[in-house]
């Protein structure tokens, strides 16, 4: 081929392609690599976190005060920088009208924004220290919604996650699962944590760790609003009226059970001891069981229970008091004692022989109904 003006060598180098490659490499190095990296300028500039959704966020202090005043639950939205789900939640789902209207109407929302994963509790940013004591933030690397009912606003996460209401736990026959499984239902967030939506039909939890669709989010918001709205279970014991405390001594000795209406310890007591075959048998057949529940929301209604606590020197609940013991002395067992200990305590009070522990037999609760 003659060398004219249009002549191009076979080995001519594509300068424009090289320029594009170098530019793209530089841009990718500075901006595109690693959404969690601090130098990710592009992510910073285009971050959806720059555009706040129309949710009226409060500070935690303001939310605690407002919750005490209005009785609305607090919704903590824990968002982590660079987390896909956090971006989707804040940029997409929080901007949907039904979501932000529902949140603004029914919750007191608080935004907890973590710029990076906290590996040690001691390194928690100062502004979130108080919250982290309530709900540990260390090693959290993805989004979470955490609903705290007004009456539990100052409690720690163990008490908030705990429930003794069978409907809230999504179970109807707790004993059929074996009592060890209550711990699972009580301590961990139910199906929402792992599957995004409830699988047990009506199991509800105050924590949302994973969600797939907008419907999942709305389902959570509808359900979590009512967490701890219902009364906790009182087990299978045939409770007698509290007025028997002041009247003449009944034929069967009186046993007082004092419980908190919220809190992990009392919830465990309700689900373990008050569904235990031996405990229920002893209380129903040989005793006059009386239940006194502490009302957290209305302290003025707790005069009787406060008097009993003072009388027996009780500083915390639950507690069980055997009033009319054989030896004439009132006996007290403090805290969430194991079922076997409660049984022995009742047998001692009744003057019965100690039983042989039998943990292998599971009790079918419906026989009592």
């Amino acid at each position: 081929m003659p060398k004219t003006d249009k002549y191009v060598s076979t080995r001519s180098q594509p300068k424009r392609l090289y320029l594009l490659a170098v530019s793209a490499l530089l841009l990718a190095s500075v901006c595109g690599i690693g959404k969690e990296y601090n130098f990710n300028l592009l992510n910073e500039l285009a971050s959806p976190f720059r555009h706040s959704p129309p949710i009226v966020w409060r500070t935690r202090e303001a939310a605690l005060a407002e919750s005490g005043r209005t009785g609305k639950p607090i919704l903590y939205a824990i968002l982590v920088k660079g987390d896909d789900a956090s971006i989707r939640l804040e940029y997409d789902d929080f901007n949907k009208k039904d979501t932000y209207e529902f949140i603004n109407a029914n919750y007191i929302p608080v935004r907890i924004f973590l710029k990076e994963k906290i590996t040690e509790e001691s390194k928690t940013p100062l502004e979130f220290k108080a919250f982290s004591e309530q709900f540990p933030l260390s090693y959290r690397s993805s989004v979470a919604l955490f609903t705290v009912p007004a009456k539990l606003r100052m409690r720690n996460h163990n008490d908030i996650l705990s429930s003794a209401n069978l409907a809230e736990l999504g179970i109807s026959e707790p004993n059929l699962y074996g009592h060890q499984n209550y711990q699972y239902y009580n301590n961990y967030e139910p199906a929402y944590s792992y599957y995004g939506r409830s699988e047990g039909g009506n199991s509800r939890g105050p924590v949302l760790n994973v969600y797939r669709t907008h419907e999942d989010l709305m389902e959570y918001l509808f359900a979590a609003k009512n967490w701890h709205h219902f009364k906790p279970s009182t087990g299978l014991v045939h409770w007698q009226p509290a007025k028997l405390l002041d009247g003449p001594k009944p034929a069967k000795p009186r046993v007082l059970v004092l419980l908190d209406d919220i809190g992990q310890e009392s919830d465990h007591f309700r689900l373990n001891s008050l569904y235990n075959r031996e405990v229920v048998d002893l209380l129903n057949k040989n005793c006059t069981p009386i239940l006194l529940e502490y009302d957290t929301e209305h302290p003025e209604r707790n005069k009787t229970i406060d008097q009993i606590k003072n009388k027996y020197g009780l500083t915390s609940l639950p507690a069980t008091v055997f009033v009319d013991a054989k030896d004439g002395k009132d006996d007290v067992i403090r805290g969430n004692a194991a079922e076997q200990n409660i049984c022995e305590f009742l047998r001692n009070g009744l003057g019965l022989k100690a039983s042989v522990p039998d943990n292998t037999v599971q009790y079918a609760s419906h026989k009592y109904r």
């Binding site: 081929m1 191009v8 060598s9 076979t10 080995r11 001519s12 180098q13 594509p14 392609l17 090289y18 594009l20 490659a21 793209a24 490499l25 841009l27 990718a28 901006c31 595109g32 690599i33 690693g34 959404k35 969690e36 990296y37 601090n38 990710n40 592009l42 992510n43 910073e44 500039l45 285009a46 971050s47 959806p48 896909d84 971006i87 989707r88 940029y91 997409d92 990076e116 994963k117 590996t119």
Partner: protein, 259 residues
């Protein structure tokens, strides 16, 4: 782009029976899998059963292995370059030929899978997942094709397959060897665990950009930094590997090539 080079690449592919058999298996594999699932999980019949968009990588592999190397081995590249065709034009043509063929095959397989799903559940006809998967298949096919053209320009024949397998093996081996170092590095190196995780994240991000060059369609709707970032990464991978391919091939000796 040179049309004759593209057509020649496709013709050469058609003459290779092993590749045709592999291509057929790649079509039939997911269909057999979904049929099996439909037989034993009747509840899933209503679901959209389409394979991952990453399947496009395998289509690109079948089309792209030895795309330049085989021409060098057979000596036909010297004849092509004896014509008024620049190496840049040659490489771009090969890239488009492989990318287009892989994208068409991948989309064709997807359409068949989708058609079967629609047969069982007609409401899935305009399912967004199908269109997103289709777009991603095309994007991945062209991204992977650029990497394969570069690998093929390094060696003769289909030794680029050995290069790719070797690199993957070395990466796996390296990950195993470095894993204990990584998990203890924060104790002796003075680098905090968070920064170590960031460094690892950058490494994985770069590897993912090369071996899985994709622009997630779901991110398209957010128009956030992530979307722009993935576009930049994709453009970077394609332009860098095509540039390297041109640069490498320019330094090879071709007896009949001009100047």
């Amino acid at each position: 782009m040179n049309r004759a080079i593209c057509v020649n690449t496709w013709r050469e592919f058609k003459s290779n029976k092993v590749r045709l058999i592999l291509l057929t298996l790649l079509f039939l594999g997911p269909l057999a899998h979904f049929t099996w699932r439909r037989c034993f999980s009747p509840l899933e019949i209503q679901d959209e059963m389409i394979s991952f968009s990453a399947m496009s990588i395998f289509f690109a592999l079948i089309w792209g292995i030895g795309v330049v190397g085989r021409e060098r081995q057979h000596g036909t590249i010297t004849l092509v370059l004896a014509r008024p065709v620049t190496i840049t034009n040659y490489i771009i043509s090969k890239w488009i030929a492989v990318g287009l063929a892989a994208a068409i095959c991948a989309v064709q397989a997807l359409v068949v899978e989708h058609a079967i799903s629609v047969y069982f559940a007609p409401s899935l006809l305009l399912d967004g997942e199908f269109f997103a998967n289709m777009a991603e298949r095309i994007i991945i096919a062209f991204g992977t094709a650029s990497v394969l053209v570069f690998c093929s320009s390094l060696v003769t024949g289909i030794k680029d397959l050995a290069i790719i397998a070797g690199v993957l093996f070395a990466l796996m081996l390296g990950a195993q060897v470095l894993s204990p170092v990584y998990h203890t590095a924060y104790t002796w190196s003075g680098i905090s665990q968070v920064n170590l995780e960031r460094l690892a994240h950058i490494g994985f991000g770069a590897l993912a950009a090369v071996f899985y060059p994709n622009i997630p369609i779901a991110n398209l709707f957010t128009f956030g930094g992530e979307y722009i970032g993935s576009v930049i990464n994709y453009v970077c991978v394609v332009s860098v590997f095509l540039s390297l391919a041109v640069f490498t091939l320019s330094r090879k000796e071709f007896s009949y090539a001009q100047d």
